[in-house]
Amino acid sequence: MNPAGRSGPAIELVGVSKWYGTFQALKGIDLAVAEGERVVVCGPSGSGKSTMIRCINQLERHQKGDIRIHGQALCGEPKRDAPILRETGMVFQSFNLFPHMTVLENCTFALTWVRQMPQVEAERIAMAHLERVRIPEQAAKYPLQLSGGQQQRVAIARALCMAPRIMLFDEPTSALDPEMIKEVLETMVELASTGMTMVVVTHEMGFARTVADRVVFMDQGEIVEQAAPADFFSAPRYDRTRMFLSQIL
């Protein structure tokens, strides 16, 4: 369960609640993700998947409960959380690449400005990751000149450059055409094989089957059920889960 041999989980959510105005989007979520574990989160639209993953990354501030990354609690204070959050990288549904920078600059930007790394070093690292997602030849292009799948792979490379120990994915393939979904999923499978801790919100159940250590099913701001994929798909315990699976499979 803990390949890196460290104590404590990589991510730990204890009773996390989040309100938008008076609407409660997360209702006391408890979740622990071990180092190196790969968790797939699924559930109907509006069930709070995105909200949860964005709380882990502090793009949204939760109002109750604790979130701990590698044992260190987030306090909501940007300056103090920053070093903790450096352990996480995030990939968005809509890529969110910076359109005014080349692919390479997208990847080196944070390295030079956040990690204060010399340009040459940053470029070396960026190229290594671009090779890993197999688009080194696109380095000099601008994001809008790439296809959606390529853009998403750049986004993954960009997140990887910061050498995070945890990668968060929020529906990374849902804005893509079918062929492109395939290339992004392949990249993610490869990434999973390196033992990185991953939390993936996705409806790609094929991916969940092959890669996930655990599938978490959410509905209405709660975690309904979580299980190893084999069990989850073959024998869901709740009828809500069954209904959901019948719809998307």
Binding site: L59, A82, M90, N96, F98, H100, V114, L144, Q145
Partner: protein, 447 residues
């Protein structure tokens, strides 16, 4: 089903294209489609042609055909053609004043030099293969004023000012050296120096790069130190020169101020937001002329007794504040056009507020805003005519002075017509440029 069971396919030979019916092409077709497609359309065509003829012919007749080109004074013009034709010699005699104002004519080369420097500095921005365009552009906007201010004002330069002028000059030299280096070798000036001096590692190269910048600054300082220019007080500035100075300062100041105000308006801190909103709305809701009036008559009241604020400066302050309020709204529009995902991506990568604003959001927003900024600049340029109402000798006031010259007393329409042309040419070129830019940017957005 196998191919054997199918008959041999027929070969499709496309018909050759026929020429279109004559009535739909060529001059006739064009006229039928564009001028005479229906009876009302034909009537409109005649109406339009008539309007065109009447206006253009009248203006040409007065301005060119009946005009007087050589005369000693206005009386001679009047004796020759009365008022049926323009009297151009008066305008010609005043052209230096219309351009430079009362700036001493033996010093006018300084203004010319300033203009040449400006154009030369901006030139690399249009050259292909120059990569440091952003840096050059920033240098131009921030450091050209240092150089230009001394060039135009002259007088005694203290230590600080000398250093500043040298900085401007060094920046100019750096911009051109970098542009040349990048065009010839594809590397920056610093890197080129490093390569020429045979730097072995990166650290050494970086140090050589810095040293060459320092050397450049020292060279500039050496050039600047012996430079002595006579002082030309700003009250002698005027004409087109003054118009350009006011609008140029207005736009360069208003851009950063507008950015700050727009950020303030979006701030989550209520007091700052309220302050920015009040400022923007106040200055946008009153006419520029009232702001000019206020600054002209009231600024001396606002300041401690004895503090004397140059009249030009007062007008410039008024124009700057006014322009900032407008610019703030343009910037706000630009910021709003940036999707939220960009902020989130920046935050997820660990960038702070100023880093993500400065490197991610603003560069994109500014690019979207360029056409509006040019539009704002045109507006500002036209609005500078108002400073004539508070008695600065801008282009318009200068044109009025022509008619007060004893020799050309009463010459009013001709200089007026002349400066209208100047304004039109400037504004028209700028607006065409902005339309062009808009088109290019639009094309860029669609990959």
């Amino acid at each position: 089903m196998s191919d054997a069971t199918r008959p041999e396919p027929l070969v499709f030979a496309p018909k050759p294209a026929d020429p279109p019916p004559p009535s739909s092409i060529g001059a006739v077709g064009w006229m039928r489609a564009n001028l005479f497609s229906s009876v009302p359309n034909a009537l409109l065509t005649f109406l339009g042609a008539w309007i065109l003829y009447v206006t253009v012919a009248a203006v040409l007749d007065w301005a060119l055909v009946k005009a007087v080109w050589e005369a000693e004074n206005r009386r001679q013009c009047l004796d020759m053609v009365g008022r049926a034709g323009a009297c151009w010699p008066g305008v010609a005699a005043w052209i230096p004043n219309l351009i430079y104002g009362l700036y001493p004519k033996d010093q006018a080369w300084r203004i010319d030099l300033g203009a040449v420097l400006l154009v030369a500095w901006a030139l690399p921005l249009w050259l292909p293969r120059v990569r440091s365009k952003v840096a050059i552009g920033l240098c131009l906007v921030l450091l050209f004023p240092l150089l230009a201010s001394y060039l135009f004002m002259g007088g005694a330069k203290g230590v600080v000012w000398t250093a500043a002028i040298a900085l401007g000059l060094a920046a100019f030299l750096w911009c051109w050296l970098t542009a040349l280096a990048e065009m010839r070798r594809g590397i920056s000036f610093g890197a080129l120096m490093a390569r020429l001096l045979g730097a072995r590692d990166d650290a050494r190269a970086a140090r050589i790069g810095q040293a060459s910048l320092l050397a450049l600054y020292l060279v500039a300082l050496a050039l600047v130190l012996p430079l002595e220019l006579v002082e030309v007080p700003t009250r002698l500035w005027g004409g087109l020169f003054l118009t350009l100075v006011i609008s140029g300062i207005g736009i360069t100041f208003s851009l950063p101020a507008g950015v700050l105000l727009a950020l303030g308006r979006r701030s989550e801190m209520p007091l700052i937001r309220v302050f920015c909103v009040t400022f923007i709305e106040l200055f946008r809701s009153v006419p520029l002329i009232t702001i000019l009036f206020m600054f002209n008559t009231m600024l001396p009241l606002f300041l401690p007794a004895g503090v004397e604020v140059n009249r030009l400066l007062r007008a410039i302050v008024a124009v700057c504040l006014f322009a900032s309020a407008y610019m703030a709204e343009i910037v706000r529009g630009g910021l709003q056009a940036i999707p939220k995902g960009q902020y989130e991506a920046a935050a997820a990568m660990g960038l702070g507020f100023w880093q993500s604003t400065g490197f991610i959001i603003l560069p994109q927003a500014l690019r979207i805003m360029i056409p509006s900024i040019v539009g704002n600049f045109i507006g500002l340029f036209k609005d500078t005519t108002l400073v004539s109402i508070i008695g600065l000798f801008d282009l318009l006031s200068m044109s009025r002075a022509v008619g007060e010259d004893t020799r050309w007393l009463g010459l009013f329409i001709e200089p007026f017509f002349f400066i209208t042309m100047i304004y039109f040419v400037f504004c028209f070129l700028m607006s065409q440029y902005s339309i062009n830019l808009e088109r290019r940017l639009g094309a860029g957005q669609r990959r």
